[in-house]
Amino acid sequence: MLTTPVSVPVLLRSDPGAGEQPLEILSAESIDDVLRPAVESTLAWFDSEALVGRYELESHRRALCVEMCHVMRSLGKTVALCAAYCGAKPVQELLIKCAFHFHRVSSSWDKIATAISGRQVDELDPLTSTLLLNLSLEELAREDPLAFSYAVDLFAPPGSQASADAVMRFFTSSLKPQDPANTYLQEWHGCTLGNFVSFASVPTTQRYGFPHTGRYGEACARQMGPMLRRDVDRSLQQLTLISDQLHLFYRGAQLFYVEKESEFPNLRENWLEV
């Protein structure tokens, strides 16, 4: 039994969004002031160096890396879903190019997962806790493009130095310097910060095809324009659920790999034969 509180509720020490003036109109800058700190504090969940001790995952670091690969390689689909469900065209275009970028770099995550696990990526199955994190992101994508855009800033969108470095550290703190996965990680990091691919389908629109560089939450807030405080508070609550879900990401790895001693890597099965 764990003796210290294992939930690290970065924001949820008290209920977020205690706005006293729900009908106050917030500018894009004020919206960013409310939501940006949630992303900045949630980035602490990528400090695997500090958290593997808390969750007793020292000897399961490689497993944790593969689980994170499952999250990273799913982002193309999830961001595209948000673009599909969002009504505002400028936000759709902001997100779909980000989705193209995530989809393009997903092959790096396939290679990283294979290098770490020794298995082809289509043989691997995410833990249930990892699937739940992915489903939470999908649900947020469907429900709340503003909160979702801020959540995207956690997972190294194109040109985001702080987030790309945090994701990079999540992996490098668990891998030896000579690990082959490092080569693919460097390749991914370069693609993420370089952001040199235009996703235009015809030469005429070449210059419109580059994904936005920098914070997606801020860009989405700017595109959506002023909002009621109560709606921004609601987005803050949705965003903080992702922080909670990251606790479950680690907790799940602890339950399955430490407590239940599940074998690594977690492989797909024919469930009629189990």
């Binding site: 969004g17 249930t128 609550q237 009629l272």
Partner: protein, 324 residues
């Protein structure tokens, strides 16, 4: 009868074999068990052939068949078949659901609900009330996802009837939470409550299953419905919890009422009822459904852990999240 591929048979000692499945590891002893028999069974996977090849008698055959059947070690779907009758698939999977449902009450959460070691363990009774309030309310969301993916009138009728029989169950759980707070001199719960991420995840997983197939959805939902199938045991369990925490029975009485209501509407076997509406199922869909039901059982375990992580940091009657 062929053994599932995941079942492993090993010869251990004289007249003893070890069976390892996804769920259990068990040693069986019988004078007719031999190394040749174990090797034969592990290789051919066919019980009758292995018994015959090793010249075993009917006594071992009968005992072993009963054990392997009880622990669901036999492959129960026709090899090479493209599709199977949904009602047959439901009857097979229902046995798995019974097993998982029983295992839900064998974890640290229920241990502390039934045999508290310190005063704050009472907050797990409160957690069960508050978070089950959210989970039962989410029936509108996940059954709604089934509705979104069907045009069939009988399925639409079934979903709306089911919603009609369940939409107000959240009030039972909220009532329990309120009574616990009142018992401790705390004010009523104002405003809208918000679920823990773990609670919300259960709904996300059910919606995910609903998007795949109604049958997959009911396999998942069935895991939790089955936990309440023994209504008399549910009465005993919660009465015992109330005594252990020295609280009035009225606090846990709504939990019992919930099980009795599900029993009354026959929701405890609703996989079979929904399967009546399904056309023959491709075996891939059956396999996906079993996988998702496993996932849901694991998610329930994770949920219990999350409730402990969060609510044990708070005093009894506290820890709920709410919209300010």
């Amino acid at each position: 009868m062929r053994l599932k591929r995941s079942v492993r048979i090993e010869y251990r000692l004289e007249h003893r074999l070890r069976i390892t499945t996804y769920h259990i590891t068990a040693d069986l002893e019988h004078p007719e068990i031999s190394q040749a028999f174990c090797q034969g069974l592990q290789t051919t996977r066919e019980l009758d052939q292995a018994l015959s090849d090793a010249r075993c008698g009917t006594s071992l055959g009968g005992e072993l068949r009963a054990f392997l059947d009880e622990h669901r070690c036999f492959h129960e779907f026709p090899d090479g078949a493209g599709a199977v009758d949904a009602r047959y698939a439901a009857s097979v999977i229902n046995r798995d659901l019974d097993y998982w449902a029983d295992s839900q009450y064998c974890d640290g959460f229920w241990e502390r609900v039934l045999r508290p070691t310190e005063a704050r363990d009472l907050n797990l009774v409160y957690a069960w009330g508050v978070e089950s309030h959210h989970h039962t309310h989410s029936v509108l969301r996940h059954l709604g996802e089934v509705l979104r993916h069907t045009e069939e009138r009988p399925t639409i009728d079934k979903c709306l009837a089911h919603m009609n029989e369940e939409w107000d169950h959240p009030y039972l759980f909220r009532l329990s939470a309120l009574r616990l707070r009142r018992g401790r001199g705390l004010p009523d719960l104002p405003g809208e409550l918000l679920p823990l991420a773990g609670t919300r995840s259960l709904c996300n997983l059910l919606q995910h299953a609903a998007r795949k197939h109604m049958f997959a959805y009911k396999c998942c939902a069935g895991v939790l419905e089955k936990t309440a199938r023994r209504t008399q045991e549910t009465r005993t369990l919660f009465a015992e919890a109330a005594r252990a925490h020295h609280i009035d029975y009225s606090v846990v009485e709504p939990f019992v009422k919930h099980a009795e209501t599900d029993d009354h509407y026959d929701h405890l076997n609703s996989l079979a009822a929904f399967a009546e509406l399904c056309p023959p199922l491709p075996l891939e869909t059956v396999a996906d459904s079993i996988r998702l039901a496993y996932r849901f059982a694991e998610a329930l375990y994770l949920w219990n852990c999350h409730m402990m992580d969060w609510y044990l940091m708070h005093q009894p009657g506290e820890g709920h999240r709410r919209r300010a």
